[in-house]
């Protein structure tokens, strides 16, 4: 017996909805952590959630094209990065005025929460593109080529943005003066 077209459509829809909801349940925490880094934590959790949820809405639209569950998180992550870079008018993050740039980390400043807050403050001082490169390169450990594909730029641009972002971390005492310094050799693949 053939399935009526409307029931077949509903079945496909329900299957997609169930898979998408299961994907969100499993991966939302991870996506929100990435969104927190991309926004620099500016505006608290709501901004990171806005970014993650906007990307998820787009992921739902593309669900049938994505195909594999494993690819869905990468698709959502890429969408978050592109939203961050291209739609500057949306206040995904809050810039820190120069007079509020955090102080250099002091020796013994080991509390994890304090470190997290300070790193987020440093992230917010970076241009969105540098922040995105830092997150994709060192948090998600993508290659320069992969990041260039996400951002639509050259690997050389990725390299220079990563170098500037790392310099900011060095300036605030999070890295030693020579660590991952391209002046001393390649820091990348």
């Amino acid at each position: 017996m053939s399935v009526p077209a409307t029931e077949g459509r509903k079945g496909m829809r329900n299957g997609r909805d169930e898979a998408f909801t299961a994907f969100m349940t499993a991966r939302y925490g991870s996506l929100l952590r990435t969104a927190t880094l991309l926004t620099g934590g500016g505006g608290g959790r709501p901004r990171a959630e806005d970014l993650a949820q906007e990307a998820l809405l787009r992921t739902y639209r593309a669900w049938n094209r994505i195909g594999r569950l494993e690819a869905a998180e990468a698709y959502t992550r890429t969408t978050m990065v592109r939203l961050l870079i291209k739609d500057r008018h949306r206040k995904w993050h809050v810039e820190i005025p120069a007079e509020r740039v955090p102080e250099v980390l002091r020796p013994g400043h080991e509390d994890r929460v304090t470190t997290a807050v300070t790193v987020r403050e440093v992230l917010r001082t970076l241009p969105a593109a540098q922040r995105a490169v830092l997150v994709l390169r060192f948090y998600h450990q993508l290659t320069e080529r992969e990041i260039a594909d996400v951002l639509g730029c050259s690997p050389g641009t990725v390299k220079s943005r990563a170098a500037r972002a790392l310099a900011a971390l060095r300036d605030h005492g999070f890295l030693s003066a020579s660590a991952l310094d391209p002046e001393r050799g390649s820091a990348d693949d």
Binding site: R13, D17, F20, T21, M24, T25, Y28, G29, L32, R33, T34, T36, L37, G41, G44, R45, A48, E49, D50, Q53, E54, L56, L57, Y60, R61, D87, R88, H89, R90, K91, R112, V113, T115, A116, V117, V119, R120, L123, L134, V135, F138, Y139, Q141, L166, L169, F174, L175, S176, A179, L180, G185, A187
Partner: protein, 230 residues
Amino acid sequence: MTDQHLPKEEEEEAEEQAREQVRRLLAAAAEPAQSPAPAPGAAFTARARRGLLRRRLAVAAAAAAAVAAAVAVPTALGSFSGDDEPAPAASAECLRTAVQKIRDRQEQGYRPVYGTLRAGRIDVDDGVTRSSAFRFDVDGALAYGGAGVPSSGPVTVWYPAAEVQLPEPGRYVLLLDPADRPSTEGGDLFHFAPEQALPLGDDGRVVLECPDGGKGAVDRERLRAAVTGP
């Protein structure tokens, strides 16, 4: 031979350690300061589905209009409808609350207008920010206020901060506020209050968000009278 390679190996090890240090810093910064947010559930998926269906409907309707195939539109409507039921008449309490929200925005300089939100994204640059906007064809105003907001004609409105707050194409009562600066092409730009995008039906009734979380519909002229009344 081994000794000659040692510095290189040490350098690579130091680099690896530095990478790991950056990864740990970012991992720490990624952790939410508050308790973990619950993942969106089936309600979010339903909203995503409705948004997708509306987009498809808008595309279908635009295509139908383009080829003047008016008969195709009811068919598409039949396929995609079912999520939205007509809102019941708004209670006095619902109307009073909605009017208060509009007045609150009026005090901030917004003007309530009604018209049609057009599909399509417009690239906008005001010299400071480059982003997107939508076209809103103003048919009339519910009240005065919002100096610089026209009571008729097309206006260009910045996208909201989050696209989830962007209403689908259709007829609405919107609260508009002139932006600080025009576009680099000289056109006026406006902001809207995303929480006050009230759907306007073909029957002239405006759908309000009621305090109990439900919806209530009220005739546009009655809403106008309530907004402008004492």
